[in-house]
């Protein structure tokens, strides 16, 4: 699975769950799925973490915006 395919698949999982979000790849090892989404979705993201990580990510994390 390419990086782009992993991202698309992760994005699709969140869309399926009705979570408006943007997923990008982060970290020196390119193994963190970084999600830009509203903070109230964090608990649901935790539940979805195993499914997203199964795409080849090691971590699923919420982006903290400095402007918030």
């Amino acid at each position: 699975m390419t990086e782009a395919e992993r991202l698309d698949a992760a994005q699709a999982i969140l869309a399926r769950e009705g979570i408006p979000a943007l997923v990008t790849i982060a970290g020196h090892a390119r193994d963190v799925a970084a999600v830009s989404a509203a903070p109230e979705h964090l608990a649901r993201l935790a539940e979805l973490a195993p499914e997203v990580k199964a795409l080849g990510f090691r971590y699923l994390a919420l982006e903290l915006q400095a402007g918030e």
């Binding site: 020196h28 970084a34 090691r58 994390a61 982006e63 903290l64």
Partner: protein
Amino acid sequence: MDGGGPTPVDEAVLARKRAALQAILCECGTVVVGYSGGVDSVFLAKAALDDLGAGAVLAVTGRSESYPEVQRQTALECVRRLGIPHLEIDTYEMGDAAYLANPSNRCYFCKTELWDRLGAVARERGFHAVLDGSNADDAGDWRPGLRAAREHRVRSPLLEAGLTKAEIRVLSRRLGLPTWDQPAAPCLSSRLPYGLPVTVERLRQVERAEELLRARGLREFRVRHHGDVARIEAGPVETARVLHEAGAIARELSALGFQRVLLDAEGYRRGALNEGLGLVRLGGAA
């Protein structure tokens, strides 16, 4: 720890294990204790003091760039309050290229350096044994540092006596040790994923970031360093606080040189960087 009392334990089992610990310490006679100021080493040093007397115990702290200053202050405060003979020495794992490469057995190289130096202290001062604070819970974990301890004939009395972390917390509380409910506090290099080289600058970034979060009231958490990314793992209470103060936290950590600041969805878990360890190529020995 949840801020209440420690986990209930079987009193008969606990008494038996404490007696076993005393027997091991007495068998050692005079001891140098590898002393970081964490829950285990503070309890071990205090037990050795109680069982052997002050003349038979020397707690030794290895000081280096990977040792958090906040932990050092706890260590110093504990020996001062408890009257435990103490020595600080410098260790030089940051001069070892194998350590700096940060393989998944990084701890082996650090502990080799530590036990080399503590062994020398023991020999020079006439102590019979060098002890570490490994406990029974550590036996099944990924602990390449334990191999270095075995190679240096370092004994692990808490592990040998079968004392678990929960039991050590109970005994620590009964002794009035301030560390009884202290979160686990491994070295700063443990915040860097295997394969990301250890540098003084990265260690300082992590230390400063954790200081900032501690100042905001966070207690159970880690800042993991992923190059230009800081990934915060926080306990349930801390997660709510991070979300509430997300903007300020992101700004503060960005000012330390992190381009992105992330909050892990699954929260704090001990040994999180060991997850998926099979994917990491093991380097060198151990």
